[in-house]
Symmetry: C2
Subunit: 429 residues, 2 copies
């Protein structure tokens, strides 16, 4: 028996989740997909660059658990890259959506759900005086820029270098298919660096319509960085001084850090906030909320889509926001995330590995020392997925309120083995 | 009794649908909406500029019928501005979506539905060798431009003056919130005018990445215009000659004119087609299908959204496309549309009114002689909505396969009264 197989046996014997995963159906589907989908799959859910063992096709979700097409079960630490905040198939959310769907979803006009949801967002988010709805996070961020431009009559928008604000040509992370003109009115600053904002502002002259910013730095592939409260306050002061719109891109973090908006944690209120992902626990919806100062600008911009007034995802959103409050979901995610972070830190230390855990515990990310090429991260997450724990090597993770202390304990059993494998492959730090 | 009230009584006595509509709940909701939604409502479903009697809020849909929040019933000739092609709450479509939703919708990866749906589109649409998915029609049209640019390494795209391709900054029909740079790489031609295309092509030099075109001219507020087959063939020849992508924006017309793509009717096959609206009978989904020649370009462009891989709307789409075929939905819409068009023509003539009925009968539009300001159209559709027939004064209508001959007969009873009112108000032509 080769050494690693012996090790496998010894380590896995202590685990409830045994590495017996097969991926026969997944492989067959990949072959079919390669014929009818460019590259076989596309976008952030393409697992082509992920370690072996990551399924390309999933079949089912319940609470903290997901199953792939071959029936393998995983504890889910990605939550569909954010949308699932209460756990998969949350009964109250699904019941609200189904009840609405049975009456009507996409009609010639909105249902009364649009009014009720706008009222709920305005009541929940302190800086919100009004709300509008769309389908994608990119719809929301793009429309924020348009509102800022319409309201100010200016063109330039300041954005952080490397930040992700969507996949439209103005913000797509790859150059392919975009033109220089798509970004002609963008200037870039460095996150948490006010001096760089002032420099961009000066370059824009008196033509700055807005500043878009994420609640914390969560650029994929990098350690996360919490916002410096002084930076957030500085942006607020600059926008107050210049009349530019302070735009918070809360698409990724919204409803995970603070129910009132992610910068309530640092006491800074934006003019416009873009939401999507967790707003309806997996149902397709996006929203922009704004302050009265930008209501008239918002009114002026033509803003529409075929499915933007559909009622079922709005009913789901109301049920989601209500459940986040009633079930203390943010507290649950914080507790689970703290347990997980503390456990990972202790394990890494016990294996002699140096790691960095960054970002809020509800949206954690783990990187290894001397691992710019992610080789250690690939081993770590590859060993975890084979044992039923779904983590990501390059992208922040997302916790849901469905994760129990038992789930965390079970996941930590797996990560202990995964750390051991990293230590075996790369040695101690 | 005033003259019009007498007339009302006489005319309405022949109608099953009596004008007893009240809008108490609708008015109360509008008041609430004005506090929390900019302008009270926004986008194409804002009824602010519609005749009195149009409800802002709808509650229920079944087959060819819809109900507003005050319980008023209407025969639906707008079909949610296109998405509803089989009728509201189609049992097979809703069952397919609900069954999928019960397993999973938005996950860390797509379900096998994405492969099955891509295969179905490739099997159904002759020019399609592959497919990708998104949420909005605008996602699909925007991505077609990106693919054309990535594939050709060129920047310029030719579009028809006044055509609607979505609400993103590059195509938004209003200037508010957009910048000149958003359209720096667009050149415009006149629909059905090949000479104007050649002129735009010359202006673009050797930098033309693609030509985007609607299957027929359906600019809102104008008589519709069917495509001249020689124009379609001419565009195909230009694209073959130059290597530019021929992009068919089939978002509005797709699955109503021809199951294989709207230009199958004229025998011209595009390189890329954008779909949305009717693709899933009301569930939020968009797709791009393309020829092998553009597969590599498609692979290169980063294309993603939080909900773009969600399975329920894909299951709905497969059920929709299958039902369109099995139930001969396009034939049904054509029959109903022909009956309606013939009936309207006879009625207008009998009232001494000159009208124009344009576009395919499945997506008809009616305008009055000497009515550039739509005053006659407003009276006509205002009288119709009060009597339970939902038409639109400025936008093409959409028929569904749920419309029966009895529905058309009932609607024609109403339009006969509405024409009489136009004649009373404006005189004969």
């Amino acid at each position: 028996m080769p050494e690693t197989a012996q090790q496998d046996r010894k380590e896995d014997s202590t685990l409830k989740t045994i590495a017996t995963h097969t991926h026969t159906k997944d492989r067959a589907l990949r072959a079919r997909a390669s014929a009818v989908i460019p590259g076989g799959m596309y976008g952030h859910q393409n697992v082509g660059a992920m370690p072996e063992g990551f399924p390309q096709f999933l079949e089912r979700g319940r609470g903290s658990r997901i199953w792939d097409v071959d029936g393998n079960e995983y504890i889910d630490f990605m939550c569909s890259y954010g949308p699932i905040v209460l756990g998969h198939a949350h009964p109250k959310v699904d019941a609200a959506a189904a009840a609405q769907q049975a009456e009507a979803d996409c009609q010639n006009s909105p249902s009364s759900r649009i009014v009720e949801l706008a009222e709920l967002l305005v009541a929940t988010i302190p800086h919100a005086d009004w709300a509008t709805f769309a389908k994608n996070g990119t719809d929301a961020t793009t429309w924020c820029l348009m509102v800022a431009r319409a309201a100010t009559g200016r063109r330039k928008v300041l954005a952080a270098k490397g930040a992700y604000h969507g996949a439209a040509p103005w913000c797509n992370p790859r150059p392919n298919g975009t033109t220089p003109e798509d970004r002609a009115n963008l200037l870039y600053y460095s996150y948490n660096n006010l001096q760089s904002v002032e420099a961009a502002l000066e370059a824009a002259g008196d033509d700055t319509a807005g500043i878009i910013v994420s609640p914390f730095r969560h650029d994929a592939g990098f350690d996360q960085e919490l916002v410096d409260p002084a930076f957030a306050r500085g942006l607020r002061a600059i926008c107050d001084r210049t009349g530019a719109a302070l735009i918070l891109d809360d698409v990724r973090a919204g409803f995970r850090l603070d129910i009132g908006g992610s910068w309530e944690t640092v006491g800074v209120r934006p003019d416009l906030s873009a939401y999507s992902k967790a707003i309806a626990n997996g149902y397709a919806l996006a929203a922009v909320v704004g302050a009265d100062k930008f209501r008239e600008g918002a009114r002026q911009v033509f803003n529409t889509g075929s499915f933007w007034f559909a009622a079922a995802s709005m009913a789901a959103s109301m049920a989601t926001i209500t459940a986040i409050k009633e079930e203390r979901a943010i507290e649950s995610m914080t507790n689970a995330g703290t347990l997980f972070r503390d456990g990972l830190a202790a394990q890494a230390e016990s294996h002699g590995l140096r790691i960095r855990q960054t970002g809020p515990v509800q949206m954690p990310f783990l990187t290894f020392e001397d691992d710019a090429d992610f080789r250690k991260a690939l081993v770590f997450t590859g060993e975890a997925i084979r044992r039923g724990v779904y983590l990501h090597p390059r992208h922040n993770w997302f916790l849901s309120a469905a994760l129990t202390e038992d789930d965390i304990a079970e996941a930590l059993e797996v990560t202990d083995v995964a750390f051991a494998r990293v230590r075996t492959a790369f040695g101690a730090d």
